[in-house]
């Protein structure tokens, strides 16, 4: 594992997102959510990479019931973000995904995009958590979701809570990242770099060619 700073992580994930065609502000939000996951000791970069495998094209939701949105195939950085915003806007109470590329990232995005709203997420039978005030509280199935959510093995449901859950602030951890994940992120970020040419080198100003004055 290697230690990276939050600033590096944010910068590189933002670039990587743009590198694979993610809309610029979505890329920035993904990066912020990735940092939040890392700070909570989760493999944020791994989750971000899962989000970046397929980041183009529009997928509109179904509406299986009143107040519900559903995407058979969802991507946390795209439809996940849209679902959070639709719920935040009061246009839905919950959103489901038959499959989702990176469930932890959905919770990270909920904490980043809507800190003043409480969310609860259930992913399959194992991964559960709540958000409030920009914090995440992960809990196991033994505690049970307070909203009574249920979902199938592969699916993920996100639901707005009527009240803001009480989640205590906690010390954040240094970002420990798998070097292979980091390398993959850097490679995607490099997709936004323009190769050097003589012209760009000459015009990339900052000082003279030699400064012995």
């Amino acid at each position: 594992m290697m230690i990276v700073s939050a600033s590096e992580c944010r910068d590189m994930i933002t670039k990587a997102g743009r590198g694979v065609g993610l809309e610029a502000s979505r890329a920035a939000d993904l990066a912020a959510a990735c940092c939040l996951l890392c700070a909570f000791g989760r493999q944020g970069c791994q989750a971000a990479l899962a989000c970046l495998a397929d980041a183009e094209g529009l997928r509109l939701p179904e509406s299986p019931a009143a107040g519900q949105l559903f995407w058979p195939q969802g991507r946390a950085a795209l439809e996940g973000g849209q679902a959070i915003e639709m719920i935040q806007a009061g246009l839905a109470q919950s959103a489901g995904f038959g499959q989702l590329d990176a469930p932890p990232m959905l919770l990270g995005l909920a904490a980043i995009l809507a800190p003043e709203t409480g969310f609860e997420m259930l992913a399959g039978k194992t991964l559960q958590g709540r958000t409030a005030n920009g914090w995440i509280d992960w809990f196991g199935p033994e505690n049970g979701p307070e909203s009574g959510l249920e979902c199938a093995r592969d699916s993920v449901w996100l639901r707005r809570l009527d009240r803001l859950p009480d989640i205590a602030a906690r010390p954040l951890l240094p970002f420990s990242v798998d070097p292979q994940d980091w390398q993959a992120v850097c490679q995607l970020a490099a997709l936004t770099y323009v190769p050097e040419s003589e012209t760009s080198r000459a015009r990339g100003a900052g000082a003279g060619q030699i400064d012995n004055d």
Partner: protein, 588 residues
């Protein structure tokens, strides 16, 4: 860190200059440092916090090469500047970011490094971006000598004479920093760790170094405070270095540099395009900087009278500013012409500073009026002068210049309201004709070499498909067109979330417009792609907030500046008057 001084009353709000007037590149490129600039705020804070600076390690040879450590005790915490001075061939001395070697490299360190930590830093810092750093490393920097002045000073001092004052006034520094990296770059400590929450740290660091300072690090909570601290200590090192080499060369004949001359030696800096995108990518921070500055100006213009002490001080400082302008010489003809015009304007302003005007009602508003018909530079100089004599009324605003918030989207807003807001606040962007080649000539990008921001010509160079999203005006215009078209057929109560479900590509533009609704100074109101855009204006704006002076533009996209010229020396910080009286300094 909000106090009452951050809050605007309705009268003050009404007196703010509108963003349409302030947020133009030509005005931002006319700014001067003020008492709210970060270097000024830092030195006041160091003085109030009884900061102590001492030399802990000095392993420098007769040529000036080796390593040194300066210890800073400040606000119950301990920091160190670690300096490495190296031999550098003239052929390798370039201030550009593509350089691979420098005369000196530096790390601002959290605590006091032991031998092992010093060795670690010595292996990394001379390589700068190629090295890897850790959570105890707060700032990374490097500097090159101002070769002629450095050698002249060493020779003079070695021979037992003080150097010519004019030479020092003209150059103003012994070294130029060419980069000052903070906030997590290359693995160094994230700003939020040392500026606020100190619970996050590197557990592996343990007791490896003495002087652990995990508490009381709020001394660097304000924007760029750690970076400005590093530069201040670098200046101190350059003063010691020149004395040391002169002593080694001259032996008993050598003397130390005179205190007043020393005080007038700041630190130079070469700043290129890398700094410019920051103002676009940090809209809320930009808003807070500008809002604090504009609030200060509105507050001061609203003062009913100036005390006799303020009147006297104002006359003294106006005169000093005139002297500073006379000392400010640059090789660039266009820039020098601007300075000459400003000198003439300022002389006229000084002649009008009558006792009647200063004793009259609302004297600072009257002074603003005195500059109103003159150049933007003259207006901004007047602003800086008036702020200078009103510290008591405005210094608290320095605590309002940070931001814990970022640009935010409100998906629950009505789409029709967003359209109205866009048309009301972004008329400047909607008026641009992007079908004209000149309007899209520039594209901002990140170069694969050294990963530095650059500016290309879309009509001549490849790579525009990878441009960085700094094209706010163009994006807002495209969003407005899509939104207007969508609303023609959509019910009027549709929300922003629904618009973005159909048009996700416009999310950034929506976010910027909505953010501008509560952060009115968050956008530069010019098309940054236009052929006429001068990035050097963005640089001057940001650098003036740092507290830089003597802007010396070398092209439309890079400039040299001077920092800390006239600032108190390390052993003078306890003197509160000296610590805060160095606005636009003049030698002698």
């Amino acid at each position: 860190m909000r106090d009452l001084s951050c809050q605007l009353d309705p009268v003050e709000s009404a007196r703010l200059r509108p963003p349409a007037e302030v947020m133009r590149l030509s005005r931002m490129g006319s700014f001067f440092p003020t008492r709210l600039s970060f270097m000024r705020v830092l030195l006041r804070s160091l003085s109030a916090g009884e900061a102590k600076i001492s030399r802990a390690v000095w392993e420098i040879d007769k040529n000036g090469w080796g390593r040194a450590v300066y210890r800073l005790d400040y606000n119950a915490a301990v920091y160190s500047l670690v300096a490495f001075s190296n031999q550098l061939a003239d052929s390798a001395r370039t201030d550009r970011v593509i350089a691979t070697a420098w005369d000196a490299t530096f790390v601002l360190y959290d605590g006091v490094p032991d031998r092992a930590e010093l060795d670690r830093l010595q292996a990394a810092a001379p390589h700068q971006e190629k090295g890897r750093y850790g959570p105890r490393d707060l700032v990374l920097s490097r500097a090159n000598k101002s070769v002629r002045l450095f050698e002249e000073l060493v020779s003079a001092l070695a021979e037992g004479r003080q150097p010519e004052a004019g030479l020092i006034a003209r150059t103003g520094y012994l070294m130029r920093t060419t980069a000052v990296y903070g906030n997590g770059k290359f693995g160094i400590c994230d700003r939020e760790q040392f500026a606020g929450d100190s619970s996050a740290g590197d557990p592996s660091a343990g007791d490896q170094a003495a002087g652990d300072s995990s508490a009381g690090r709020d001394g660097f909570a304000r924007p760029f405070a750690a970076e400005m601290m590093a530069v201040y200590l670098i200046r101190h090192f350059t003063h010691d270095l020149v004395d040391h080499i002169a002593a080694a060369r001259g032996g008993k004949k050598a003397i130390r540099l005179d205190r007043e001359l020393r005080r007038h030696l700041g630190i130079g800096n070469s700043t290129g395009l890398g700094m410019a995108p920051f103002l676009v990518t940090h809209p809320v921070l930009l808003n807070n900087w500008m809002l604090a500055r504009e609030t200060a100006w509105a507050r001061v213009r609203g003062l009913a009278e100036a005390s006799p002490e303020q009147q006297q001080r104002l006359q003294e400082l106006a005169s000093r500013a005139g002297g500073h302008l006379a000392e400010w010489q640059v090789p660039d003809e266009a820039a020098q012409t601007r300075i000459q015009n400003l000198r003439a304007e300022w002389a006229a302003v000084q002649a009008s500073l009558s006792a009647d005007l200063l004793n009259g009602p609302y004297p600072f508003a009257a002074l603003a009026g005195l500059a109103a018909d003159r150049s933007q530079e003259c207006q901004e100089l007047m602003l800086a002068l008036c702020l200078e004599v009103n510290g008591e009324a405005i210094d608290g605003l320095a605590d309002c210049m940070d931001s814990s918030q970022e640009a935010r989207l409100n998906p629950a807003a009505r789409a029709a309201d967003l359209l109205a807001e866009t048309r009301q606040q972004f008329g400047w962007a909607l008026a641009v004709d992007f079908s004209q080649p000149d309007a899209i000539q520039h594209f901002w990008y990140v170069s694969a070499a050294k990963l530095e921001p650059r500016l290309g010509n879309r009509h001549l160079e490849a790579g525009s498909e990878l441009e960085t999203p700094l094209d706010i005006a163009r994006r807002v215009q495209a969003m407005e067109a899509a939104l207007a078209g969508w609303l023609e057929t959509a019910p009027p109560d549709k929300l922003v979330a629904e618009f973005l479900l159909a048009f996700p590509q416009h999310r950034l533009a929506v976010q910027r417009v909505q953010t501008n609704g509560w952060a009115p100074y968050s956008e530069i109101q010019d098309n940054l792609l236009d052929a006429s855009c001068l990035p050097v204006d963005m640089l001057r704006c940001k650098l003036s907030f740092f507290g830089a002076s003597k802007f010396d533009p070398k092209s439309d996209r890079w400039t040299r500046i001077t920092m800390y010229q006239g600032a108190p020396l390390a052993d003078e910080l306890a003197d509160a008057r000296l610590a805060d009286d160095w606005w636009l300094p003049v030698l002698g």
